[in-house]
Symmetry: C3
Subunit: 346 residues, 3 copies
């Protein structure tokens, strides 16, 4: 039973400017070419202009300069995707998890759980944990000793937070995420490895989202730090002592090695690797599957790798990589010979 | 207590042609060079021909054209590995999980669970879930609201399926898999990120296998779609709105970005990355660790990357990559100089 | 309430040589430039020499040859990082998990659990499992049938061990790890995939550490084998039939394909990919994000890949990769022309 809204209500909640019939009832969201009556869509990319003229949507979110091309009601804004984001939230189903501790959850007597928080079946909460107001802990989570969860934070299900981990307010953590596992610290003892105890924890700010099966290790001495507004996709690995700055967004399957500092407002695309003990400045953007091996002190876009091509093309050319240095030297030698020969001629 | 079979029984269950003693008792499977009496092996790759002549196996699965080289009983077939697959299944231990809901499982009163299904200890089933006949849910799984599991599907253990996810019949999902987590949809609001609610779900066909710690995100508007017969290995990331065609098989650690469509009958080897919003045709095969950055409209094999070599070789040559364009221009210039000089000479 | 120690006690437990006041009380560990009174630090890398002279630490672990530069008490050793590792362990908080089976754990009546072992809430232990002395199983773990855990092994939380998996003594397994999931074995049957049953298990030695969300598949016929002292970081994939030799350490996000053998004393950095059916000799070291495509029979360092650079530099140069073979041929042609022309001149 999803809710429905008038277009005027959606304009108000999203901050967009209404053009047309504010009483029009909107029951859902849809893409431009799939939308029908009662649905709202958005137009953000002129590549899809052909779909705008023909849309059967009841309303479209778009920029004022595109309004003339819109055949129906409109919500006008300079940032259509942002308005779209806010309106999708209106149509998201609200969770029904009731507040309180489920009979099949196990909460240590020395934990503090807000009366407005909810702990679902199968979750285990350790000694000294502090669960704030309106926190929702889904089924089968593990919350270690002395973990702190700020107001409104939501652990969807099957999340594991180990001892001492702190999350701020309004965080969202997806299933399978593990926060506070030991960093990978080893000292070599004549071939055998001796464990360096990981004595720090993980400190996470407000409005942080952490994807499914993402892992964030505790720091060796101090905390691994994730600042406010950071968004981490699925299957990301954040090693010990890493710091990630405010509002940085990182796509799936990226790994960040120990003690590296990522600035604020960065984006790392999927499958990126970042070596340890380096710094990425604010505003660095790394393309998918690139490997960052040294500090990037200037904002900008960075890319690496050799992309897929037909196998035969790859095979023929990539074999030459091992000859590159030789080729460069031979090329230089030819140039010198020709320079000399030209000199002699003149 | 694994079962034993006569060779005639194995011929019948696997569809192979018996040569030799059908009453021979087979108690297990083994490789050609490790096998002894009572064991069956297979010969599929002529690289291992030396092991065939000397095998002590009681029977070997092989092609008719190789039968003359086989010193023992044989099962003849044009597809030895397929017959091997079927026979290994005969020797797999059957699960003992009894039907019914374990006393330590928590099933919402509004869920529908078939009488022949089993729900193990520690699993939590939400409101409106429909658990079909002969479904087995192993320990510590989470099954969200309105999830549908078709007949014979098996969640091994510690699997998390979120609200509205649908799996068909005879699927097999390994531990740590998360299906239906939010897609990574974010709109930028002057530096801060606003969440795009993910209103779709995940729709999975029949006979789909999903590996350990693999994640499949729910779609933004519509469903993420995994067709019949798809096989996903461990630690794969499937982003929102992705569609994967029938019988495509994807090896571990591969990531597929949002809204990409993978055709039917494709194979992606391990560690592949695929960018978003592209299409791979039916019958595309991507080599291990390759990054696919644009649509591949023709079937075939695609490869990228620079493989590992001794570090000094790599270091010397790879530094030249940044000079490649310069080298190409200088080479062209030399060619022109020589052409001109030859013209002048003639 | 972390413990405190005299410096003499720390010297003794770590095997270092005391210089200075053995009665000095040490309450914690800190980096050289962050340390204050009551803290011990270490000096291992001469790059940080400037911090040594100014440190306010009460004691520093360092080499005898650096002792003259140390302004405070010292622990002298030829391996400062090893001594540091041992001392961090002194300051790690001891787990408080009480022995015995928690009321909210589910242990099959046919499992054997040592009296000194502990099984936390939400964990499920199957038939025939053998849980050794001093084993700690944290919350929400799944331990399959006939699993064996040796003395002192610790499953932190949310670990899944499937049927027949064996871990030795003093292992440490982090949350989300899955051990014993099916290997990815498939036979093609005219386009459809037939499963090859995975009949082996996983055999793990003593003192093995396994990181968060790491997956280790069971072998097809025999066991996947992890030898004594192996250290695996987070999100590593170990496919079926793999063997990893003693004391090899592997960093996060690395994937090892089926039937590959990694030697002893190897290190694989983060994000490495190793193809199947190859062998890495003892003492092989693979750099981060490198892809190993063939056997490495000699110890040494191996590297691959094209690292990230400014996007425009990458774009301009990488396009030339597909011309490399052509460039090499044209270069050779020019050389021949010049050789010939020189010959003619002489």
């Amino acid at each position: 039973m999803a809710r429905s809204y008038t277009l005027a209500e959606l304009a108000q909640c999203s901050g967009a400017q209404l053009r047309g019939d504010g009483d029009c009832i909107i029951q859902g969201v849809e893409s431009l070419n799939g939308a029908g009556s009662g649905q709202i869509s958005f137009f953000n990319n002129r590549k899809y202009r052909k779909y705008l003229a023909d849309t059967a949507a009841s309303a479209v979110i778009l920029r004022p300069e595109d309004a003339a091309d819109c055949p129906c009601n409109a919500l006008l804004t300079d940032n259509p995707y942002l308005v779209w984001a806010k309106i999708t939230q209106c149509f998201a189903e609200q969770s029904h998890q009731e507040s309180g501790v489920h009979a099949a959850a196990v909460v240590d007597a020395r934990a503090e759980v807000s009366h407005s928080a909810s702990i679902a079946a199968g979750s285990v909460v350790g000694e000294g944990a502090k669960i704030g107001a309106d926190v929702r802990v889904g089924p089968n989570c593990v919350i270690g000793r002395n973990v702190t969860l700020g107001r409104g934070t939501h652990l969807v299900a099957s999340v594991t937070l180990l001892d001492g981990v702190r999350l701020g307010e309004d965080c969202l953590v997806h299933p399978g995420a593990v926060i506070g596992s030991d960093g990978f610290g080893l000292a070599n003892d004549g071939g055998r490895w001796e464990k360096v105890a990981q004595l720090g924890s993980v400190s996470i700010g407000n409005r942080v989202e952490i994807g499914a099966n993402t892992t964030i290790d505790r720091g060796a001495i101090h905390d691994t730090i994730i600042a406010d507004g950071v968004k981490l996709d699925n299957q990301i690995q954040v090693a010990h002592n890493v710091e990630i700055g405010e509002n940085t967004a990182i796509a799936a399957c990226t790994g960040i090695s120990g003690s590296t500092r990522i600035g604020a407002g960065c984006t790392l695309a999927g499958g990126v690797g970042v070596v340890g003990h380096i710094e990425l400045a604010d505003g660095v953007h790394v393309s998918g599957a690139s490997v960052v091996s040294r500090s990037l002190k200037e904002p900008g876009v960075y890319t690496g790798g050799v992309l897929a091509m037909p196998h035969k093309t790859w095979q023929k050319n990539i074999a030459r990589i091992k000859q590159l240095d030789d080729m460069a030297r031979r090329l230089r030698k030819l140039e010198k010979m020709l320079e000399k020969s030209l000199e002699e001629e003149s």
